[in-house]
């Protein structure tokens, strides 16, 4: 858990790998920018999910070879993609009808802060120029299950799992689960509940690096397949 970029990359990989286990057969899933983008490479090839891209695609395939790029076929990160078998294309209003109407089973998103009551801040920081919220406010409010994939602490060591968010909110009471390199945390009526502990850490370390109470109620070893 040092500040080196190697450790950081390892942490992000660990989070993405664990995040991939949230995806189950037949789910319709939206993956946000950041760590969630790399989730598909950790996905069990036997698990077939349908990836939603909020600019108007359902059934995103892999990235094309440079010679096969179609500038008309991009994902929400504005990168050229391919369409998987069974894909469908639609306009932005129908795309967010899917989102807002509760038709997405799951959204995996990045985060800056998550509060003990499930508030999420991930669209702007106090000092920097605002870039805009894009579709994040819609997705956190609409997806049936919202799981945040983020490093446990900020670059400066500050806690990202907090009692109350200090950054402007993307959504209030919207997060179901947080996955960090230290563990898996469910948001419950009693705040953060540690469900899985990553190898090489302890509940005490988790508590020390979390700015809110953490209840320990472990259900399974880190990364055990969902069922």
């Amino acid at each position: 858990m040092t500040g080196t970029s190697g450790a950081k990359a390892d942490a992000r990989k660990r989070i993405a790998a664990r995040g991939a286990q949230e995806l189950r057969e037949g789910m319709y899933v939206n993956l946000g920018i950041g760590i969630p983008t790399s989730v598909p490479s950790f996905l069990d090839p036997d698990v077939s999910v349908v990836l939603h891209s909020e600019n108007g695609l359902l059934g995103i395939g892999g990235f094309p070879a440079p010679e096969d790029e179609d500038p008309d076929t991009i994902n929400a990160g504005k990168e050229p993609v391919t369409l998987a078998a069974g894909a469908a294309v639609f306009d932005s209003a129908l795309s967010f009808a899917m989102v807002r109407g509760g038709h997405l089973d799951l959204a995996l998103l990045g985060g800056m802060q998550v509060s003990a009551t499930g508030d999420l801040a991930n669209w702007r920081t106090a000092g920097k120029l605002i870039k805009g919220m894009g579709g994040a406010m819609d997705i956190v409010r609409g997806a049936r299950r919202v799981v945040i994939l983020m490093e446990h602490t900020a670059q400066d060591g500050g806690a990202k799992l907090v009692r109350h968010c200090t950054l402007p909110l993307t959504g209030k009471g919207v997060v179901d689960r947080v996955i960090t390199e230290l563990g898996v945390f469910d948001i419950t009526g009693q705040g953060f509940v540690l469900r899985e502990l990553a190898p090489g850490t302890t509940a005490d370390e988790v508590r020390g690096r979390t700015d809110a109470p953490v209840t320990v109620d472990m259900r399974r070893p880190w990364g055990a397949a969902w069922n």
């Binding site: 983008t37 790399s38 598909p40 490479s41 891209s53 909020e54 600019n55 108007g56 695609l57 995103i60 892999g62 990235f63 440079p66 790029e69 179609d70 500038p71 008309d72 076929t73 991009i74 990160g77 504005k78 990168e79 050229p80 993609v81 369409l83 294309v89 639609f90 306009d91 932005s92 209003a93 795309s95 967010f96 989102v99 807002r100 508030d119 120029l129 605002i130 870039k131 805009g132 919220m133 894009g134 579709g135 994040a136 406010m137 819609d138 409010r141 609409g142 402007p168 909110l169 993307t170 959504g171 209030k172 009471g173």
Partner: protein
């Protein structure tokens, strides 16, 4: 009935201060030829509704760089340096709207729904009016976006959002017929049908134009009733990719 004209003619009545709903997501499906034609006209003070504002020197960035845009309604400005500079310096007013709310507000405008409730943004500073709208020349915030009306429906807090209509809709299609029926290609559809609906006068540029009666009525994405003018997009206008993936998914 034949709605086909050329780009210069099509934009000739767009005047200073006009409001424009412009299709596209990032650089995908943007009406680049119409944007160029407007830039050539030299109008100022445009109020533009579009999910993004292009990049430096391309897409709506062309109008922004030239100082033609007074106000943007968008969900995301991204890394667009000139956009940030103009916003921060007070030269540009920016109304930030969640992407799905923006799409729904445009559709509502086109569909005669004056306002709707949505849970999106409830409990955030979108609802309470805390998002900067305009900066002062010194960089401080001169005005915030107005707060939304909030109420509880079926136990959930929701906010009232207003429809958006514009003087003009500007869209890019793959195929148009001569009566304005449009077909889009892949994710270049995005906001285009909604901007067409929201424009009181909608101008569509299309990569090809076919005679009325050629398109399968079942496969028209946007009926011609929403399109007043059709322009053939120049074959020489390149389509640009904004970003390339650095990792395989």
């Amino acid at each position: 009935m034949n709605k086909v004209t050329d780009a210069r003619e099509a934009v000739a009545d767009i005047r200073d201060g006009a409001s424009l709903a412009v299709g596209g997501f990032g650089l995908c499906g943007i009406p680049m030829d119409l944007i160029d034609a407007i830039a050539d006209r030299g109008v100022h003070g445009l109020r533009v509704v579009s999910n993004n504002c292009g990049v430096d020197g391309w897409g709506l960035g062309v109008l922004l760089d030239a100082g033609r845009i007074a106000r943007m309604t968008s969900s995301y400005m991204g890394e667009h340096a000139e956009f940030g500079r103009r916003f921060r310096s007070g030269e540009l007013e920016v109304e930030l709207v969640p992407q799905g709310t923006l799409a729904e507000r445009l559709r509502a405008g086109g569909a005669g729904i004056p306002a709707f409730y949505t849970p999106v943004g409830a409990g955030t500073d979108l609802a309470s009016g805390g998002i900067p709208l305009r900066h002062a020349p010194d960089g401080s915030v001169a005005a915030h976006a107005p707060a939304r009306e909030v109420r509880v429906i079926d136990g959930a807090e929701v906010v009232l959002e207003r429809a958006i209509t514009c003087d003009f809709g500007l869209v890019h299609a793959a195929v148009a017929d001569t009566v304005g029926n449009l077909v889009f290609h892949s994710s270049a559809r995005n906001f285009n049908p909604l901007c067409a609906m929201a424009g009181r006068i909608t101008i569509a540029e299309a990569e090809s134009i076919v005679p009325s009666g050629t398109l399968d009525p079942d496969h028209i994405h946007l009926p011609g009733i929403f399109v007043q003018r059709v322009v053939r997009a120049r074959a020489t206008t390149p389509k640009r990719v904004e970003r390339r993936a650095v990792t395989a998914p």
